[in-house]
């Protein structure tokens, strides 16, 4: 009889643990209207008058990162990231790695790129990366690192170093999905070089739905 009770308890605890792992967070992120680009704004930017202006390429939703912070330690870590340099741009523009993770920058352009981390003194100093070669950089602290190119000012990307493994990107409809244990988290949305949304989220059993509206960038905020 004692052995039976011990078995029931183990089964029960196992079932409880299995239930917490299976929680899913689903949601959508609604972006504000596309602002007029402020960077490198020259004298003129006018529509052609023949055809309607097409969507921005690449899709800005690809640069949106959703993370849930507050997960218990011991969970699996994020993998390292790879950034391709082609078409005189970084792809993806925003990369997410765990603390201590590395980012490999591959130069697929025909010209060398001299990447560096903005506002950093020793971290990733400017160094040319010839065409066809790659450069790997390790990031030891959580934070946002903006990567620039000395030769092409328009080239810039962001490396997000986070301590949580729950990171998601938006699909072409702006939806994301995260499988997380039940518990209380902080939902953060990174958009256009800033954490545009930060809100508390309690994940319960089964599924949790969340819809996030990214406010338009203010003048005091980061660039839109």
């Amino acid at each position: 009889m004692e052995a039976v009770l011990r078995g029931i308890a183990i089964i029960g605890l196992t079932l409880m643990a299995a239930t917490a792992t299976a929680a899913t967070v689903r949601g959508t992120v609604m972006l504000p209207p596309e602002p007029r680009p402020a960077d490198h704004d020259a004298h003129w930017r006018v529509e052609n008058g023949v055809l309607a202006v097409g969507p921005r390429v690449p899709d800005p939703r690809l640069d949106v990162i959703v993370v849930l912070e507050g997960a218990p330690a011991g969970k699996t870590q994020l993998p390292n990231a790879t950034v391709d340099m082609h078409g005189l741009r970084l792809d993806p523009r925003v990369s997410v790695i765990p603390v201590g993770g590395t980012v490999e920058f591959k130069n697929d352009d025909r010209v060398p790129h001299t990447l560096y981390v903005e506002k950093a003194t020793t971290l990733m100093p400017p160094a040319p990366t010839p065409a066809g070669q790659a450069r790997t950089q390790k990031f030891y602290a959580a934070g946002e690192y903006r990567v620039r190119d000395e030769e092409f000012p328009h080239i810039d990307g962001t490396v997000l170093v986070v301590q949580t493994p729950y990171v998601a990107r938006l699909d072409d409809k702006g939806a994301f999905k995260l499988d997380v244990p039940e518990g209380k988290y902080t939902l953060k949305v990174y958009y256009r070089d800033r954490w545009a949304v930060t809100q508390a989220l309690e994940v319960t059993a089964h599924s949790t739905e969340v819809n996030v509206q990214v406010p338009a960038a203010t003048a005091a905020g980061a660039k839109p």
Binding site: P37, D39, H40, D41, A42, H43, W44, R45, V46, E47, N48, V50, L51, A52, V53, G54, P55, R56, V57, H86, G87, L88, R89, D109, R110, V111, E151, F152, P153, H154, I155
Partner: protein
């Protein structure tokens, strides 16, 4: 003079105030000019921005026009689809781009497919294609339908680029990019339009400039230091740069577009305003078109200045020029004898003081003249007192003729010069002097000249003339010969002395009278009058001292006062005073000499004997010695004196008279003109 002085003082004060204001306003004016220069630069920068913007729009339109080419559209559409032979498409597009670039003359023309892949290049990196450039925001925007412009920093060069989408019916087939390098040609073009020097900078170095200015080396650092300000406000404030002793003002502005991150900027440069000085103002005024001067504002200033001058001139005319002219006219009338005094009431202020001073002098000299004038002797009426309104031959024509009397001067007659010879001076010589005087040397006088040989007549005259010319004092009158020299047994020297001294002309219309004063007289003779012959036992004759003064100077001498010089003064100067005869007197004498021949020698000899007898008798009567006095010597002396007087005064004859002066015998020679 009060008002004219006050007026000119006021004008001077106003002028000084104006100069002070001009000096004090130089610095505000300097600041205003520098501010104006800075504002000019800012206006130029605004114009430059508009110029670049308009120019960019032209490039956009050009790109759009090229992007409509059907060949390009078809080729780029096929390239976008993928299956086509990209090499063939590349050549097709490149040829087409070259065709257009022959007309556009731009530095780069790029064509991309819809994915941002370069299909062909012309101008820059022509051999490269298939690489993606969709990362350029300009290209990305063009691929989605925008037309725009930008600035690119490629390979250390700065390009102004424009892009336009290539439209294939209902979709975008690619993009077309045209660009022009920012170089010296653009700088020169902007300079022609803006009238300022232009320099382009990129990544801390000067790309090109319209002129090789020495300050260009400082521009990168200057732009780097103020780039944040430039990026925030679109341009910098006017910045001062000094290089090589020259100052400049610089306004820098960033190039709009991507190259701004590479600190691409253009700088507009003008020389700093030079220091505001009078020279600068004058040069600016001279270089200004007169039509642009503010004549309306300048008219009151010029009018006021002209009015001040007119008022000053009128005041001067009323208070100075007019009274001076009146005083001059009155003085001329006084000189001509038309008036006897100056009406000092008619002359205001200091001119009245001058008139009163002249009147006072006239009064004093007139009184002295009345006291000392001698009565006429054979030459007409007595002279008028000094200051008389009637012009007399011997009346002074100029006030300086009335200088205070001096013993050696011609001009002022000494009182004794006009006095008639005193009868007591005809004392006869003492017999012992007439007959027993041994030959002795001529008494030594302190003559300034130490020549052993007596000078000739011209030499003496020249010396006297020169001496007069050197000294400012009136000249000493010429001396008559000393009869005592006759007794000394040296008749040649005596004659030369007589010739040297010359006759004495009396003042006034009276004929010149020669006096032979007895020696030793003590009336007014100074100590340098010569030796006292009476006291000297060696003297036979008393010297004949001619004391005829004249109120008028000699006709020709210059520097009459030179005789007053002690260095040149003759010891006999104080004993003889000769005045020049008047022109009327000389004319009358000449007339007489022409119609009346000289008297016969016998008559002359008889006259001389009579004079000799009278002289001997007079000396004896006076108790004087007549030793050594012989008729031959006596008559020789008389002849010499007579001839000298006749020569000098052109008179007909000379009358010698013996008289007693101071208890001693003396001779008086009187020229006879009729």
């Amino acid at each position: 003079m009060f008002w004219s002085k006050t007026w000119f003082l006021l004008v001077a004060l106003i002028g000084g105030l104006a100069v002070a204001v001009a000096l004090l306003t130089a610095r505000p004016m300097q600041r205003d000019l520098e501010h104006e220069t800075g504002a000019r630069l800012e206006r130029a920068q605004h114009s430059a921005s508009l110029l670049l913007k308009v120019n960019a729009r032209k490039w956009i339109d050009t790109a759009a026009q090229v992007g409509t080419d059907a060949v390009l559209v078809e080729a780029l559409e096929q390239a976008t689809k993928g299956p086509a032979d990209l090499g063939l498409v590349h050549k097709t597009v490149q040829e087409r781009l070259r065709y257009f670039n022959d007309k556009m003359k731009v530095d780069l023309v790029w064509a991309t497919d819809a994915r941002g892949r370069v299909i062909a290049r012309v101008g820059l990196d022509e051999q490269v294609y298939k690489d993606g450039i969709e990362g350029f925001p300009l290209v990305a925007d063009a691929l989605r339908g925008y037309r725009g412009d930008d600035t690119w920093s490629l390979g250390g060069k700065l390009y102004r680029v424009a892009a336009s989408p290539v439209i294939a019916r209902d979709h975008y087939a690619g993009s077309l990019v045209v660009g022009q390098e920012v170089a010296g040609e653009l700088a020169q073009s902007m300079k022609r339009v803006l009238d300022v020097d232009v320099a382009f900078l990129l990544r801390g170095r000067v790309l090109a400039a319209s002129a090789q200015l020495p300050m260009l080396g400082q521009l990168p650092l200057l732009v780097d230091q103020h780039f944040d300000e430039m990026a925030a406000s679109g341009r910098s404030l006017p910045l001062e740069v000094d290089q090589g002793g020259e100052g400049y003002l610089v306004v820098a502005a960033p190039f709009a577009g991507e190259a701004e991150d590479h600190k691409a900027a253009y700088a507009l440069i003008v020389p700093r305003q030079p220091a505001v000085t009078f020279g600068y103002l004058a040069s600016e005024l001279l270089s200004t078109d007169p039509k642009t001067l503010p004549w309306i504002q300048l008219a009151p200033i010029g009018g006021g200045l002209l009015l001040a001058l007119i008022i000053g001139f009128l005041l001067m005319r009323v208070e100075a020029i007019g009274p001076a002219k009146r005083l001059a006219r009155a003085s001329q009338s006084l000189a001509r004898g038309e008036i006897t005094r100056l009406d000092d009431d008619r002359h205001p202020g200091r001119f009245g003081t001058v008139a009163r001073s002249v009147n006072t002098t006239l009064d004093r000299l007139g009184s002295a003249s009345r006291m000392t004038m001698t009565p006429p002797r054979g030459f007409g009426a007595a002279p008028e007192p000094f200051g008389s309104s009637r012009p007399e031959p011997f009346a002074p024509a100029r006030p300086e003729s009335f200088a205070p009397p001096r013993s050696e001067s011609f001009a002022p007659p000494r009182p004794e010069s006009f006095a008639p010879p005193r009868p007591e001076s005809f004392a006869p010589p003492r017999p012992e002097l007439l007959h027993e005087r041994p030959p002795q040397p001529v008494p030594t006088f302190e003559r300034p000249q130490t020549d052993t040989e007596p000078p000739s007549v011209p030499e003496f005259e020249n010396r006297a003339t020169n001496a007069r010319a050197r000294a400012p004092e009136p000249p000493a009158p010429p001396k008559m010969p000393l009869l005592s020299d006759v007794g000394a047994g040296d008749t040649s020297e005596l004659r030369q002395t007589n010739v040297r001294n010359g006759p004495v002309v009396t003042s006034g219309p009276a004929a010149p009278t020669m006096h032979a004063d007895a020696p030793g007289r003590t009336d007014t003779e100074p100590t340098n009058m010569g030796p006292d012959f009476v006291e000297s036992p060696s003297e036979v004759f008393t010297p004949i001292t001619h004391k005829i003064a004249t109120p008028r100077p000699m006709p020709a001498p210059q520097g009459l006062s030179a005789a007053g010089s002690s260095a040149q003064r003759d010891p006999f100067d104080d004993q003889t005073a000769v005045a020049s005869p008047t022109e009327a007197l000389l004319r009358a004498a000449r007339e007489v000499s022409q119609v009346a021949p000289n008297p016969a020698e016998a008559e002359l000899e008889q006259e001389f004997r009579q004079v000799y007898r009278d002289f001997i008798e007079t000396k004896q009567a006076c108790g004087e010695s007549t030793d050594g006095i012989t008729y031959d010597k006596f008559s020789g002396k008389l002849r010499s004196n007579r001839q000298q007087l006749i020569t000098r005064y052109a008179c007909k004859s000379v009358k010698f008279q013996v008289y007693v002066k101071d208890g001693k015998a003396a001779l008086k020679a009187t020229p006879i003109t009729s």
